[in-house]
């Protein structure tokens, strides 16, 4: 896996935001306000960004 570019402000901001969005979906899933599919998509989006 490539090394993360820690100096890139914009990339870090995006990762942080995707992480927050995933957390929100997780809470919603627990409250039956989101589907598993939404959970999968949010998780994958965030983890994909972490790979860069």
């Amino acid at each position: 896996m490539p090394k993360p570019n820690l100096n890139d402000y914009h990339m870090r901001k995006m990762k942080m935001r995707l992480h927050e969005e995933f957390d929100k979906i997780w809470v919603k899933l627990n409250n039956n306000e989101a589907t598993e599919s939404q959970w999968h998509i949010a998780l994958n989006k965030w983890l994909n960004s972490e790979k860069i």
């Binding site: 990339m11 997780w26 599919s37 998509i41 998780l43 860069i52």
Partner: protein
């Protein structure tokens, strides 16, 4: 790498599972608590206690589970007490039967028919607990009833839709998942049901949005109208004390419901806006005086140029001084910082594969050429993220007009909810003058149409335009052009909301890219004209701040 090698103990071989985290569970008081979420199919895991996360190395081609249809239709044998429950809410037995409502062990079942088949079942109890079929297709409730309809009424729930059916309206559908929270950023998944209804929604002449009378309903109505097109959307006004159409039916009867639909009023887009239309928006602005446009991602520009929806920005500059490069860099910043979505017509960057690599370079901050270029995995992962945010327009047509770009942007907005549209450059678009129309009048007319499109769909539009002529100063260096120098008259300056020139300043002492902000229409929120200095990294195509200090950028 396997889950076992990572120390993750699983009892299933597929699906999703919660288990103990090998990183933190043994150190916790609640060590037996399953805090690690594992998606076995996708090979991903996340601990909600210690944030340990990752993925296995296998490539996963399809992260979305397959769509599943309900195994059986709802049982339409409705007990008397359930029928009474409907009657208490103004819904007759005839409607319950004709709509094939079902009932099963406390749960009232609303079948979602599409093409005559049940694709989903939404169930609710009398005390408003809801559930839907797992991994079912998302589509409008009563999908088949909007086929070929010129007018479609959209409600927020099934009972509201049935209330309208009760009053004789058959062209009624309901969104499947209820409204969105106010101020929430709408996700594509939340609006996925729009995709299958694209033909009906875009083909309809009138859409009446009968969402609930609360902040969530307002937010849903605004986003739906933004995507469908406000020129065809109508709103209903509920009487005092009524939150939705079912309450109107119960409290005031059928005639009032019919009155509300008959009196539905259009969005204020015809040029006539009453004070009542904008009172709430103005009060919002008053209560939040510090609300500003979004940062471009360069702190040095924050006091000079910020990005707000519903505006048009004109970018100009001498050829080969980086207008398009800066435009791309701004787009990537907006994607990374604000998760914006763009439609982009960039004729000088065709074929798209070259343009995409340049964008990936800016996105990752890594070179896309040379010996130290980024690796394939990083490129693929970046492209998969960018795919959610950037759509290329006009790539297969020869005669691209502003009208065709806006038409494609309209469809993209419906599907994905665009935030930004880039037209780069103006001179590669096919310009069709009307009879007797000169260039000045043409530019005026088209900029007016871009302005109204931006406001209608709350999209920020950037137009990159070359100057008509380039002049040199006494040292034979190009003079910074202004929007008045763009071919087609002063309308470029007058009819845009913001006007910027990108110019490279290079001499023996310094070498930087100047972002010359000539005009900002709404200075209280988007900054005041001035010049910001950036430097350009030719390896990855990124722009950074010219001065050494990164203060304010790495907060």
């Amino acid at each position: 790498m396997t889950f076992e090698e990572l120390g993750i103990r699983l009892s299933n071989t597929s699906g999703q599972e919660k288990t103990q985290c090998p990183q933190c569970s043994h150190q916790r008081k609640k060590g037996s608590e399953p805090c690690l979420s594992v998606n076995i199919d996708e090979g991903t895991y996340y601990c909600h206690h210690c944030s340990w996360k990752g993925g296995l190395n296998e490539k996963h081609s399809n992260p979305t589970p397959p769509i599943v249809r309900p195994k059986e239709k709802p049982k339409t044998d409705i007990p008397e007490e359930v029928m009474s429950w409907f009657k208490d809410r103004g819904i007759s037995e005839d409607v319950v039967i004709s709509e094939k409502i079902g009932y099963n062990n406390r749960w009232i079942q609303f079948p979602f028919y599409k093409g005559g088949e049940v694709v989903n079942i939404k169930s609710r109890t009398a005390d408003k607990k809801f559930r839907q079929e797992k991994n079912a297709e998302k589509c409008f409730y009563r999908f088949d009833h909007m086929e070929g309809m010129e007018t479609i009424i959209i409600t927020e729930g099934e009972m509201d839709a049935l209330s309208l059916v009760e009053c004789g309206y058959n062209n009624v559908v309901s969104i499947p998942d209820g409204a969105i929270a106010p101020n929430a950023k709408p996700s594509d998944a939340k609006f996925s049901y729009l995709l299958s209804a694209e033909k009906q929604m875009l083909g309809a002449v009138t859409i009446i949005l009968a969402m609930d009378n609360d902040p969530s309903g307002d937010a849903m109505r605004d986003e739906l109208s933004r995507r469908i097109g406000r020129e065809k959307c109508y709103r209903v006004s509920y009487p005092d004390g009524c939150k939705d159409m079912n309450e109107v039916l119960m409290k005031h009867g059928e005639e009032k419901v019919i009155d509300l639909i008959t009196d539905a009023h259009p969005y204020p887009i015809d040029g006539v806006i009453t004070i009542a239309d904008v009172t709430e928006d103005a009060i919002d602005l008053l209560l939040k005086p510090d609300s500003k446009g979004l940062s471009t991602g360069w702190a040095v520009l924050d006091d000079k140029y910020r990005v707000s929806p519903s505006e048009v920005t004109v970018i100009t500059g001498v050829p080969n001084m980086g207008k398009s490069e800066w435009m791309d860099a701004l787009m990537i910043n907006m994607v990374q910082d604000h998760m914006w979505k763009f439609g982009i017509f960039s004729a000088e960057n065709f074929p798209v594969k070259h343009h995409l690599l340049k964008l990936v370079g800016k996105f990752t901050g890594k070179a896309f050429w040379g010996d130290d270029r980024l690796d394939e995995d990083t490129a693929r992962t970046s492209m998969s993220i960018l795919d959610d945010h950037i759509k290329f327009i006009g790539t297969q047509e020869t005669d691209i007009t502003i009208e065709s770009i806006l038409e494609q942007a309209k469809v993209l907005n419906y599907r994905y909810g665009l935030n930004g549209l880039i037209i780069d450059p103006w001179n590669t678009v096919e310009h069709k003058f009307r009879q007797g129309e000169n260039e000045t009048n043409y530019v005026s007319r088209v900029l007016a149409s871009l302005n109204s499109f931006a406001k209608l769909y709350e999209i920020h539009i950037w137009v990159v335009a070359h100057p008509r002529k380039m002049e040199n100063d006494n040292n034979r260096k190009p003079v910074v052009p202004s929007p008045y120098d763009i071919s087609g008259s002063a309308n470029w300056f007058n009819k845009s909301d913001n006007a910027i020139t990108i110019h490279r300043h290079k001499d023996e002492d310094e070498d930087y890219v100047g972002v010359h902000v000539h005009k900002i229409r709404f200075q209280y929120k988007n900054g005041r004209p001035g010049m910001g200095k950036l430097n350009y990294d030719i390896k990855n195509g990124k722009y950074g701040e010219y001065h050494e200090s990164k203060e304010g950028l790495f907060e």
